[in-house]
């Protein structure tokens, strides 16, 4: 169904720039709050029917497909999975599927889009222009699709109780040794946003934060007009796991920081309990732009926070440029290091017949130098692998899948 213009019964869509509903025909503007539920009453009975039920198909392919009749043109609108709003492929009408947001299951809050589609693309292009290793074809990318999607979230308060045993190294040189530290404590988390869509990974959605919840409004379907949206499809176990992961991360950070005068710290044993206050949870819709483009036959997705404009994406990188610069710099630094080390080693170790009295000290110094060289090289390689892994995470196919199964 759609909320219709009071002046000409035209289609209304929510304009992020004006923060108002705008009629596509007469350009009249309305506040979403002006339309109350009684104006949509007649359309409440319109519900989605499953493909299997309508067409009698007993196929797994259609298990998760539903058909909704467009109230504007009568066309069949296919909706997948947990979609709550979409567009009719025939008339382009924005369709909010009431049955999926029935009154007792409606979100309680929504942060309306503030960043327009054009602004989102401009922010991305500006950012890409500054990327040293972003290929030229991507800097001038052509978007396959740009979709504004409201992601369902549960905003929760929770109590976290945990303990951790931390191993670290204390002292230096000859007197360094391994020590153990114990920390057990509690923390409260308030207004923690956890994405409620199984298809969108928590790693990607959490990177969209922070959202400014002071700008959240009481939920009104009209904010969805012109955008796509999903309903929550997770259960309590999923929510608790997500809350636990986040709370554990914060607890561990503070536990490690509380251990002073130790290095190479790591947690070697821990346990935790996260209790969500499920009477105080808020079900909310938070905005994000999903921009997809193709690069060398592979789909890539950029997510832009629809309120703040923060970009989340792992961009394919120019490997030739990266490795050639890395090798050239490596060679240059090796030459400089050699110029410094050669006379230094000659002076320290020199002719062994005159240095027998300090052979112990020289041995340790040599060990330290060798250890440093190995450690530096290992850390460097490990850091590159970590960055590549992080880039690949946000290029994951699951993000593209969250976007693709929607009507244009």
């Amino acid at each position: 169904m759609i909320t219709q213009c009071r002046n000409c019964a035209g289609q209304l869509v929510f304009d992020p720039a004006k923060q108002l509903l705008v009629c596509g025909h007469c350009r009249s503007t309305f506040k979403p709050e002006e339309f109350d539920i009684s104006e949509k009453e007649e359309l409440l009975d319109k519900k989605a029917e499953s493909m299997n039920d309508i067409y009698g198909m007993d196929s797994d392919e259609f298990m998760d497909c539903y058909v909704y009749i467009c109230s504007s043109c009568g066309g069949e609108v296919m909706i997948n999975g947990s979609e709550a709003s979409t567009r009719c492929i025939y008339c382009g009408n924005s369709t909010v599927v009431f049955s999926r947001i029935a009154r007792h299951k409606r979100p309680q809050a929504i942060i309306p889009f503030k960043v327009t589609k054009e602004e989102a693309v401009m922010i991305v292009r500006d950012r890409f222009r500054k990327g040293l290793f972003i290929p030229k074809e991507i800097k001038n990318f052509k978007a396959d699709s740009i979709r504004g999607i409201y992601i369902p979230y549960w905003i929760v308060n929770c109590d976290h109780k945990a303990y951790a045993v931390i191993q670290g190294t204390v002292g230096s040189g000859k007197s360094s040794k391994t020590a153990y530290f114990g920390r057990a404590g509690r923390m409260k988390l308030k207004a923690l946003p956890l994405d409620a869509s199984k298809m969108l990974s928590d790693e990607s959605s959490s990177r969209l934060e922070p959202f400014n919840f002071h700008a959240a409004k009481e939920f009104d379907d009209d904010y969805l007009l012109g955008f796509y949206s999903n309903v929550s499809d997770i259960d309590y176990g999923d929510l608790r796991s997500a809350a636990s992961r986040r709370a554990s991360e914060y607890f561990n950070q503070q536990a490690l920081a509380s251990v002073k005068n130790a290095r190479s710290k790591k947690i070697i044993a821990s346990d935790h309990l996260t209790t969500i206050d499920y009477k105080e949870m808020t079900y909310a819709m938070l905005p994000a732009w999903f921009i997809t483009y193709d690069y060398r036959g592979k789909h890539n997705t950029i997510i832009v926070n629809g309120q703040t404009g923060k970009i989340v994406c792992g961009v394919p990188w120019n490997k030739v440029l990266f490795y050639s610069l890395l090798i050239a710099t490596g060679i240059a630094l090796t030459i400089v290091s050699f110029i410094i080390l050669k006379p230094f080693l000659g002076a320290v170790f020199g002719d062994s017949s005159h240095r027998s009295s300090s052979s112990d000290g020289n041995g340790k110094l040599l060990g330290l130098l060798i250890g440093s060289a190995i450690a530096m090289f290992s850390f460097g390689i490990a850091k590159i692998m970590k960055v590549i892994k992080s880039i690949n995470l946000t290029q994951a196919g699951s993000i593209f899948n969250f976007v693709k199964k929607r009507q244009e």
Binding site: S50, R100, Y163, M187, A196, V315, S337, F377, I388
Partner: protein
């Protein structure tokens, strides 16, 4: 000695180059790699037990009894959390 200096220089030189370029790659291509800071959602941890330099035996038993089995039982799932999708009952035409 020259060979030793060369090997050490190679390790240090390429190691440093890898660290530098990993940072440059992250800054260039890994966009938005930060989640909400802990301070946005939580206060400081209140530590009930805090022991430094515990011995090897104590580290095995440090957390025992801190999270009690009965604490876990209180965390009962709420069965109707999932937003169930409504389906219309099909009527014969």
């Amino acid at each position: 000695m020259d060979f030793l200096a060369f090997v050490l220089a190679l390790g240090l030189g390429f190691g440093l180059a890898c660290l530098i370029f990993a940072s440059l790659l992250a800054k260039s291509n890994d966009i938005g790699n930060s989640i909400g800071q802990a301070s946005l959602y939580s206060g400081d941890v209140v530590f009930d037990r805090r022991e430094d330099r515990i011995n090897r035996d104590a580290k095995e038993t440090f957390g025992l009894g801190y999270i009690r089995p009965e604490d876990r039982k209180r965390d009962e799932p709420r069965s109707d959390l999932k937003v169930e999708l409504e389906r219309n009952n099909v009527t014969n035409p």
